[in-house]
Amino acid sequence: MADLSSDPKALSGRTGFSRMNRHDLMTALATRWRMVPVLIALALIWTYFSWANPLFISPRNLSNLSLQIVVTAIVALGLMFVLVVGEIDLSVAASGAVSAAISAGLAVNAGVDIGIAILVGLGVGAGIGALQGVIVTWFRAPAFIVTLGMSLILQGILLDLLPEGTNLISLVGTPLGKVATLYLSPGMGIALLVAMTALYGFLSWQSWRANHQQALGGSLLREVLLPTAAIAIAGAAAVAVFNAYRGVPGLVAFLLVLLAAFSYVTTQTRFGLYLYAVGANAEAARRAGISVPLVRIAAFTLTGLFAALGGMIAAGRVLGVSPDSADTTLLLEAIAAAVIGGVSLFGGRGSVWAALIGALVIGSVSNGMLLINASTQTRLEVQGAILTLAVVLDALLSRRGGAR
């Protein structure tokens, strides 16, 4: 009988050692360390702008920068879901604008309770997403075109929804118009940091303990203490910077809580796993008994929901809904943010934190370029170059990942 241990390659790859290592490195870059090159790029960008204009790292500018990226990050978070299942949604900017127009219209013009108006708007966004998901899965129509068509329809609907003449629903003086001006008190910012760090520490400790009970081993230091300490230190630095200005911006706190919650959903729950399974190999997922259409529709629905959320926050920040709300810049920046953050356009890879880090890269370049008085053309060129680099990296890593 053939013995596995007699096969050297099966064990440690003594043959072609360096090649194996290179392959392992590429795999690690495509998975666990996917954020490393992005974080390095972000550090370089920040270093450059701080050197070119020290105002860049002032608490005030960093606080504003973080507020500027909230909408992009939330829409990018939504896009992550469709991208992971191997689809795309080009209607996010338009559906966000329509949802915002409906919420604003209900709250401002019809006098509906603001909470209900927001829920209706979110429902509309989720519904648009679900409808697109159904069309894409049932009719096997390419998402690229379906969502592009939907985007045009929604831009038309937006014009219908806006009042004739002014073409604007103003949010000045309304609760929605104040969302961007809310800041947590210094104490609340610290409390939020402590709560989130403790929750992370508790969950990772639980995993570590379960591994121990099953006699699987694992280091408490490496798996629980160090990551928790890293989060505490990074969080403390961020809160200190925010508190040196006006405190943690409410929207930023909201974004972080949202990211943490969906980080849990995507990494710890069955549904999250199914998103990645469907994105990598829909046929394998189907044979494993997963309802692939349902997972795809759910992904589109989440994308629509986050698009609506992003649309409303955008409206709150610019104090109104206008035809410009459906501007495709948001769509492009959100896709760019997701891809720069490491969400693969080929499906199956990417974490929710990609939305934050990618949006930070994009936002930092915009913000820094303004501070150093660079021209619009330079800004576009630099952003385009970063996006192209990110896509090339994605293609490279995907080819490696799927090589065998």
């Binding site: 995993s207 796993l273 199956g348 990942g401 065998r404």
Partner: protein
Amino acid sequence: MAIHTPPPVLEVRNVSVRFGGVAALTDVSMAVWPGEVVALVGDNGAGKSTLVKTISGIQQPDAGEILVAGRAHAMKGPQDAAAAGIQTVYQDLALCDNLDTVQNLFLGREICLPWWKGRRMDRARMEKRAREVLSDLDVKIRDTRVPSSSLSGGQRQSVAICRSILANPQVVLLDEPTAALGVAQRKQVLALIERLKAQGRAVVIISHDIGDVQQIADRVVVLRLGRKVAEVTRGGYSRDELIAAMTGALDAAELAALRKELAHG
């Protein structure tokens, strides 16, 4: 057939499958006993995959029946076959490259914590069970946490087979498990099949490789153009005879001789 006193764990009786004008299977019968490896061989389009699909509930037979442990089962889908104790490993593996070994093994049947613990997947318990199954079958995977894309072809095939074993099936169907594997990896997979056999499971394997078939199969069922043309037992045939039966190069007299041999075998 006096040597086989217990009933076969799987029996195919007079099964026919038609696709429009094409008779993919005509009146095919075969039986598999526990702890036995039966190879299905035949030229391209002979109906091997169709037979496996019929047994695994993906394809409904137009005539005939499938019996599991002596009882007829009308299998409407793969779930019915799985419930009856039949698992299939398909030609194209069906692993997700981005998921690790444990996630692939448990895909679609994850163990989750109760809702008051947040419905988290119980990674520790799945990891434990995965390591048990892998070591039972002597499958060596250095790190069960790396994505499947970094496993070798043989390891991937082994994971796919282990995945079918998690449900503790009595019958395992393998569609060309060694196709596209190198020599060493092929050995790995054949050794794994030997271990399935040693565990008392019945194994049906489709293979185009006569060498593999000679090495691993206790019996060989030869299909040609949807009909069973021969059935031979280990040692009771030569390589050339098998190829002749597959391609139809054997004339009627030789075939009769082969059949006689089978009757005595």
